[in-house]
């Protein structure tokens, strides 16, 4: 384990950015987790990969950053806690700037590789099926599919925001993937394991480790093939499905109840056939908030 960046902090020990490197030479892959301190599935997934790589002999280089925002993680917070800034909005960073700018700069400098992967959990309010999601085409799409995660979501747009890690990597002409799975603040062991398997498959595809079995991608979709259900009103959402469930038109996805009294306000039902990729986990919802997202696989 190498400390690639360090900064003293008042009242407590220094912050250190740790990198674990396995193997050497080409091809090279950098995998980053925990840039948001409360996204524990990403951290666990990369640590699972660490234990796997420890007993293998990679033919190439794998740089792993299992937990970037340790200070945020200590407090269960997404952002860097001292000034409440999002490290994933601080790229390309600045070696002379604030702490988050310095961390972003150091991470970008020390994650130089042929292929880069930024691993996240969903927000604390939602649970996400393990997926690759970003505007993608060409070689990046091939790599995304090689992970064999349940969903590949080609979101609209030509580019990612360059103040984020994936956008900054792409701006530097590196192939970069954005991977999400599970829910923030909690550990979903099954989803973290699926993410770790996807990362392992990517390394297998690149010839760095022996290939493992193919994954099972249930849906490979564009934005028009994603059915988003938002709440028409504020209330208390009780889901009737779990991520990964297969649904058909009319399938009951959940109910929005009155928070006081519990009367049903509305029912939410699927319109098309598909796999449930996102489910609201925190039940109190504001009007227009996302409840369920379905990756459409049929009419």
């Amino acid at each position: 384990m190498t400390t690639v960046f360090r900064i003293e902090a008042p009242f407590r020990g220094a912050y250190e950015l740790h990198r674990l490197t396995f193997g050497s030479g080409s091809p090279s892959v950098a995998i980053v987790a925990g840039i948001h301190g409360n996204e524990l599935n990403s951290i666990h997934a990369v640590n699972l990969l660490v234990s796997s790589l420890r007993v293998q002999r990679p033919k190439g280089t794998v740089h792993l950053f299992p937990m970037v925002n340790t200070f945020g993680a200590d407090e269960g917070r997404k952002r860097w806690p001292i000034d409440d800034q999002d490290i994933n909005r601080a790229f390309p960073g600045d070696p002379e700037g604030t702490a988050v700018k310095r961390i972003a700069h150091a991470l970008l400098e020390t994650s130089n590789a042929d292929v880069c992967v930024d691993v996240h959990s969903g927000a604390p309010q939602v649970r996400e099926i393990p997926q690759v999601r970003a505007p993608m085409s060409g070689e990046e799409l091939v790599l995304a599919r090689a992970m064999g995660l349940p969903v590949v979501w080609r979101r609209p747009g030509d580019a990612m925001d360059a103040t984020g890690l994936v956008g900054a990597w792409r701006a530097a002409d590196r192939k970069a993937l954005h991977v999400v799975g599970g829910r923030g603040v909690t550990l979903d062991s099954k989803h973290a394991t699926t993410l770790a398997d996807g990362l392992q498959r990517l390394l297998g595809h690149l010839g760095i480790v022996p290939p493992i079995g193919a994954g099972r991608t249930v849906a490979d979709v564009t934005h028009t093939e994603v059915e988003s259900h938002r709440s028409a009103c504020g209330g208390f959402f009780v889901p009737e499905v779990w991520v990964g469930d297969l649904v058909r038109p009319g399938h009951l996805l959940g109910r929005v109840l009155a928070p006081i009294g519990g009367e049903q306000i509305l029912e939410v039902r699927a319109e098309r056939t598909g796999v449930v990729m996102t489910v609201r986990a925190y039940p109190l919802v504001h009007a227009e908030e996302l409840l369920v997202r379905i990756a459409v696989t049929g009419s």
Partner: protein, 307 residues
Amino acid sequence: MLARMSKLSTLIELEVPTGDVVPVLRRRFTGGSPGRRVAIVAGIRGDTPEGIRVAYSIAELLETMEKDLHGTVDVYPCVNPLAAHRGSRYWPFFEIDLNRLFPGRADGHSPDRTAFALCEDVRGADQVLELRGAHAAFREAPQALVRVKNDRSAELAQRANVHVVWKRSPGPAAPSTFAHQFPGTIVIEGGAGNRLSQGVGRQLTRGVVSILSTLGVIGSTEAPSTEPITVTDEQVRRVRAERGGLFLPGCDLWDEVDEGQRIGSLIDPATGVHVQEIASPVVGRVLALREHPVVLAGDMVARVVAT
């Protein structure tokens, strides 16, 4: 209750889980004769009560000016009411910075929709003024920010009754800010984050009134009491801590400082060790000063504008 001149409209209604509906409001003042339309926007972040106070003061003044108003003034008194309710910078629950969501989305969640609704409503205004307060960690001298190369806005901002007109180059995050959606926007701010500062609200209100007068929207008014200096990014020097510690200021806001003059000290609070003397890099004035004393290496402790 006295009849009000302004027409109150709801830009968007935010329905919270427990059933309350929180409106984002606009107060429209329409004069007796045609003229320009000016949009005055406050409270995009919830920890900026100074900007919200100035918007309120302007609106109350306009209520008394029906006959003297030419054109339209739209006052958006608080765009982010849920954050203002708890005094936080970010939109609560989502913990999202509304000023990184513009131009917003019509089909997104409530912060996205609010950003979108505001942009749609402001579109077409002849002049946009955004009223802010300082970041919660700082005190800021009254200042107006305009986009570099926008000479018309820089000239108009001379009337803002501020110490500094800062012609800024857009940074990486600029495209997602409100001000960036309307290139001629003048951002007016000052005081301390999340609180009101004595005299600042009055000073900024007088500046906004002076701008409205210059635009011909209201009649002639008292001239601004402060003549600003106009600077570009190169003249605004950020002074940063070299190490972590507790910053103890050694000067006050808008103090004149010489190059090398002490601005403050950095101490290690645990051991009592004096870590760093922090000095001004230029001859100038202190534009911003850190209020929240805990810093890490690289954190800004002051901003000095070279004079």
